[in-house]
């Protein structure tokens, strides 16, 4: 499950990860887009690139999304039995909100791996405005990607990495630009975490 605030680069990241899994690892991958509050263009972008994409929307906010998402996961498990199901979580949810429902009612799930894309470019702003949500997304992740480092100062990156270590010492923090792609060692490292 890929979480991170609105505009942090989740879809771009998923595009790279899914491409790597399909092309390099010959894995069967399905993607669920589970968004509230962003222009619904990202899913079309992924679908155009040939990925199997399922969209999940809520009427106005997240309260209705988790049930719909879990039903979609169960249908996908039954129909496609993919090796990987990548869920783009809504940017305004804590991962635990979704994970609790998935763990209780989800079917065909061997393991759930959660990563968060933290927006390094907007780190100072978002940690000032909505610290609880941003820190909770990091605290509940197995891996933290410090994204958009090309748009951020070195001090912002250092601040993010220090805060991430403070609130979630068990999670590795990997800096990445995302827009320029993700280097294969980073993707390999990510898979090592996911399989661990």
């Amino acid at each position: 499950m890929v979480s991170g605030f609105l505009g942090s680069g989740k879809t771009t990241f998923i595009r790279h990860l899914a491409g790597y899994l399909v092309v390099q690892k010959e894995q069967r991958v399905v993607i669920i887009e589970n968004e509230a509050g962003e222009v619904g263009i990202d899913d079309r972008f992924l679908a155009r690139e040939g990925f199997q994409v399922r969209e999940i929307y809520g009427g106005c906010i997240c309260c209705q999304l988790t049930g719909e998402l879990t039903l979609a996961v169960n249908q996908i498990a039954e129909r496609f039995n993919p090796d990987w199901l990548i869920i783009e979580a809504t940017g305004i949810a804590r991962p635990s909100t979704i994970l609790n429902t998935l763990r209780k009612y989800g079917k065909g799930i061997d393991n759930i791996f959660t990563l968060v894309i933290a927006d390094t470019g907007r780190w100072e702003e978002l940690s000032e405005i909505m610290p609880e949500l941003i820190f909770a997304q990091i605290a509940e992740a197995d891996l933290v990607i410090a994204g958009k480092i090309d748009e951020a100062s070195e001090s912002a990156l250092q601040s993010l990495m220090a805060k991430a270590k403070e609130i979630n010492p068990r999670a590795e923090v990997l800096p990445a630009s995302l827009i320029k792609g993700i280097e294969e060692p980073v993707l390999r490292r990510l898979l090592q975490h996911a399989y661990a």
Partner: protein, 368 residues
Amino acid sequence: MVTARELYEERLNRIKTAVALGKPDRVPVVPMGDSFYLKYLRVKLADSCTNPKLFNEAILKAVTSLGEVDGIQHPSFSVYLLSVLWISELKIPGRDLPEDDLWQVDEKELMTVEDYDTIINQGYKKFLDDYYMHRLDNLNAKFQQFVESLPDAIKATQDMGIVPFSPGITTIPYEVFCGGRSMSEFLKDLFRIPDKVQAAMDVAIEDIVESARQFCRAIKPIATWVGGWRSASEFLSPRLWQRFVFPYYKKLVQAVVDEGVIAVLHFDSNWTRDLEYLRELPKGKCVFSPDGTTDIFKAKEILGDHLCIMGDVPAALLSLGTPDEVHNYCRRLIENIGPSGFILAQGCDIPPNAKPENVKAMIESVKG
């Protein structure tokens, strides 16, 4: 034989006793499930979501076949209500989406940074009239159909002995601006031009309060929603929440209560951090209605002697759980949050994919 009028009075008394923090003969149940009712009746969402009269008929047909409810939160609905709340475009089934897909708020940056100046210099009403006309395709005309249909929808509901509890919705400038600017851009505004945003909010709240007063006087509802979605505590630091959110709720709620109308704080997402502030709202005149995310048991602890609590059967439980699980959850609420000052309902809205047997279990649970 009890008449519909007698039944209505009995149910209204039950609800009003709960709101006034008293102990009714049993806990009232007042659900809402706009899209669920249509799905349950196999009515296409496209056919009803812009037709409030059809929507009212569907709601009444659905609730009366699901069990004995004391009231319903909305006697009617129109998707344009969402467009008014968040000054956003919509994706409408049958027009932008397949006929039976759920409507969506199409959140994007429709309101500009310059619009804050327009609001400050020319007034909120002038800004809004122009915005509705030119950026939301004459929204006023479309929304008017809903407003005009409300008296008939309210009467049709009462005629069936059911209380049309909260037919209207209002909200604070934060929600409106957040929808119009898009959440991502709006948060940038709060960081970069907070004084300008606040100045625009201070202008807007006066017109919003006046509109709420006019609505209460024209429709004379029992209650009205004062909704909160993106302004939830979990989305904002305490300092910003205390500056941009709570003062405006306090003002709007007081205006509604001054009109003799109950303010239903329909608050989605997590408000647990700031529950203590809600004690500043008028005692026994409001209903705190969380969506299953706020800790409702904590809410009882902090607000139980001050505000009635309504909720909060989670959407996921109604979609994925069993009738026994729903019953057990409801009984836990009734016994721990109630029996005084409590109304049983779903959290937020019954989702379109809820199992009808779960909704029936929720309604039935108030009987023991």
